[in-house]
Symmetry: C2
Subunit: 255 residues, 2 copies
């Protein structure tokens, strides 16, 4: 083991990430337009594949619009109570304008273009999240924007070939930070040179125990199997199985 | 406009993002295992949809393996010269283990599962990138891992239902930082309450001018139209049009 293994290597950014929790309860402290400018100004510097910038961001403060978004997200009340909700969109509309100038179009766009734009949105979203957290502004990502992407797109008046990949509730946290949830054991998810199949599988039962212990600590009801049980309960039924058809209607084919 | 609009709102994290460039030339300064531990230890705290943790990370230092990855990425020599290459993988294999325990499987997995795992990988990857940069370790994301996802998966010995979403070259930069590329005008990509279609379209020609001016400054040959021309040249032909079939063979259906 190299000599420097014991030197603490850290930074404000690393501290922010190491202390990250999803926050769903917010104080009355205002998140100003200047905060949002600073956060999104930094976030748009995230890498973007081939300089495509195939994303857009919609900042929502209006109470009625947040209420409707909350409803579309399966009645998540923090979407209403957060001072600012930010929607991170995959957006191929400017790409299409570019292609049209040279007599081309985006009919039959493919999985690569769906992924490039979705990843662009995710990189900007994650950058915004960590930038916000570095100012004490925290929140939670809302994947449930994919429950009904057409209704969300209509509400935000998105152009064709755009959809909301995820939203984000942001605000100053109210009260104490919730206890941090454990993560899958590192050797099961971080591999050296090639994938360690044994470590990946072995991590699952270790993690079931750790997550169950965490739930007991915070008084949350759980099953003996915890993680595997939750995952099966949620995904055996293939949630959002109509997503592909909905996104195709919005102009992203994923073909 | 609120009184505090003129107060500078910043942090180390925001500075890191605001100064970000893609770095493709590296110094001899070692990136130690302790650095990588600190970077990835922080990165795995990124949000993950429904606590699925549907990603894995493979850290590559071996010269022969980097050389092969460089070749698969279309001969990008920084993949060879970077001290550390990190592959961020969408990984449904642990999800499948969980489902199998209850008599279910991941046959006919859908677009949502493809996106959830790809976004998980992107969130961890972006977190790693900004954590590294906060330590002075910079680099570039390599989307070209999607050129031939099956060859990449084989080289890293990934399990079924996993693929590399993108890679990342990391190292201490060698020499001066390249000039930062301008981004699309903010009003065209950041919208308030609803999407501003006029601003989005108007931003394109403004950006063509800004990007062309940037290319002239750095002595790069360009076309009058710069951005739109580059985008058309690259995407009219639908690159990676076989990605969907390749990922399906790897066990991600995107259906």
């Amino acid at each position: 083991m190299p000599k420097d293994e014991n030197i603490e290597i850290t930074s404000e950014t690393i501290d922010v990430l190491n202390n990250r929790r999803s926050i769903r309860a917010f104080s009355d402290t205002a998140v100003t337009d200047a905060h949002i400018d600073a956060i999104l100004g930094a976030a748009v510097r995230a890498p973007t594949s081939s300089n495509l910038q195939a994303y857009s961001v919609v900042v929502v403060r209006d109470a009625a619009r947040k209420a409707r978004l909350a409803e579309l997200a399966g009645n998540q009340k923090h979407v209403i109570t957060c001072p600012v909700f930010v929607a991170f969109c995959a957006d191929l509309s400017r790409i299409e304008v570019a292609l049209q100038r040279y007599g081309h179009d985006l009919e039959d766009n493919n999985l690569e273009m769906g992924l490039v734009s979705s990843i662009d949105a995710a990189l900007v979203g994650m950058s915004a999240y960590v930038a916000a957290d570095s100012l004490g502004i925290q929140g939670v990502m809302i994947g449930a924007m994919r429950n009904d992407p057409e209704a969300v797109a209509e509400l935000l008046d998105l152009p064709p070939r755009a959809y909301v990949v995820f939203g984000m509730c942001l605000g100053f946290p109210d009260g104490n930070a919730p206890k941090q949830k454990p993560r899958m054991p590192r050797p099961g998810i971080v591999h050296l040179e090639t994938y360690d199949h044994t470590a990946s599988k072995a991590g699952i039962d270790v993690y079931n125990d750790q997550l169950r212990a965490h739930y007991e600590t915070i008084g949350k009801e759980t099953n003996t199997d915890s993680w595997t049980y939750e995952v099966d309960s949620k995904f055996a039924a293939r949630p959002r199985n109509t997503l592909r058809a909905a996104l195709k209607r919005l102009g992203l084919d994923f073909s």
